[in-house]
């Protein structure tokens, strides 16, 4: 299976965008999952709904909202470019943002489920043995919910690799910059005679998904062996 330079570029860009989207999304996802699983606070229902919004909104709507909020003229876009020198519109960073936001609910859900399944007695026991709150979080809670974090990261990665609607609406389709695998497939399918290129890219996406799934399965097994004997 020989890829043209453009196709290889789209593939590598997808890997980069999806990986960074997972890493950027992980800390806030753990925080949101923890808040939703453990805390009671006013407006929790609204917060829960907000976290899940990207899951139920059409991706094009998310893309348009991102364009309006994070574009050069958007309030958040101006804030980021003025204070941090970061621009999102029509750049690969925008593709990361779109992918991270679309994958965020998946990450939160998986982590929250494993937090809710965790017996709070274990954490309480660690506290009575003298561990500080942060120590409990880092050396008890997080290792125990690692499978949930991995599952969430995997779902987010898969979603990020497949993200289309929000990406093309927010950052358009620029080869080498924002043209990820799905956008390249869309372009190939739309072009007369692009069927062969589309087929190669489709095979590549399937392969990538399989590798990601197998990797997460292996990681989960290794984790089980180490911690559960």
């Amino acid at each position: 299976m020989l890829l043209s330079p453009d196709e290889l570029e789209a593939f590598l860009l997808s890997l980069r965008v999806a990986s960074i989207a997972v890493l950027v999304g992980l800390p806030p996802a753990i925080f949101c999952a923890y808040a939703l699983a453990r805390w009671r606070f006013p407006g929790k229902l609204l917060f829960d709904a907000l976290v899940h919004l990207p899951l139920v909104l059409p991706p094009v709507v998310v893309g348009y909202l991102l364009l309006v909020l994070f574009g050069r003229q958007g309030p958040l876009g101006q804030f980021f470019s003025d204070w941090l020198g970061l621009t999102f519109a029509f750049s690969w960073r925008g593709a990361v943002l779109a992918a991270a936001i679309m994958g965020f609910p998946f990450q939160v859900r998986a982590i929250r489920l494993s937090l809710e399944a965790l017996d709070p007695g274990i954490e309480a026991a660690a506290r009575t043995l003298g561990a500080g709150r942060l120590d409990v979080l880092v050396s008890v809670t997080l290792p125990l919910i690692l499978p949930g974090i991995l599952a969430g990261a995997l779902l987010c990665f898969a979603g990020a690799v497949g993200e289309f609607g929000a990406t093309i609406t927010f950052v358009a389709s620029i080869p080498g910059e924002t043209q990820t695998l799905p956008l390249a497939i869309f372009r190939a399918v739309q072009s007369p005679g692009g069927e062969a290129a589309a087929a190669r890219l489709v095979l590549l996406s399937v392969g990538l998904a399989l590798v990601a799934l197998a990797a997460s399965e292996l990681l989960a097994r290794r984790w089980k062996r180490r911690f559960l004997g």
């Binding site: 348009y64 364009l67 309006v68 574009g71 050069r72 003229q73 519109a89 029509f90 093309i168 609406t169 358009a172 389709s173 620029i174 080869p175 043209q179 869309f186 372009r187 399918v189 739309q190 072009s191 007369p192 692009g194």
Partner: protein, 264 residues
Amino acid sequence: MRLVSCLPQTLLALVTAALLTSAPARAEDEITLFAAASMTDAMTDLAAAYSAAGHPSVKLAFASSSTLAKQIENGAPADLYISADLKWMDYLAERQLIVAETRSNLAGNALVLIAPLGSAQAAAADPATLDWAALLGADGKLAIGDPAHVPAGRYAKAALDFLGVWQLVESHAVFAGDVRAALTFVETDEAVAGIVYATDAAISARVAVVGSFPTASHEPIVYPIAVVAEHDRPAVRAFLDFLLSGEGARILQHYGFVVPARSS
């Protein structure tokens, strides 16, 4: 227990009932039109005028010409197809997916350079003699349809090639999924300029036309229309006749389309 055991049958019955009731009563005279995105406003108006005159209602689907052609190739239930270029109509014709004798050129269009209303770029200028480097600045974006598959993008690239500035502006180009998405990027001030059809610029209150591209700079922009193969029904022909009539031409012209002289 009894409830659980009869659940599958109940579900099956419900699903069957839902499928039966929701199956479209495929009215013989209901018409489905697939049209290029740039036709959105004109066709919405035309369809409304047609059914207001007591004719059957027309269902409209808009997307880029390529998307629609591929959908028709894969059996989408379209009765009529309007493409924004000859290539995609030829694509269907080669595959015997349109009724050849019903094909004609419905309308024409012009290619214009646009900028956000009130921006520095919005001052009128002739694209043929424009200083593109000054227009786009260091990192200004130029929104166009993706030249790989969006007709408006292909015309735009051809025109920029013809003017000898494609190399210069290529790094500034932002490829949109269809021509209306390119318009949106300029409307929201994200791109400092864009290249769209004259008709797209005309329906937007938030962009200004900088200037028109010379007609020689790109192949003529025509919108061929044809009846989709195996959808040749009297009701479809009647709507096609309406689109090609004087009344149809009047509405198309209202939206900025050029209507070619017709023999009939």
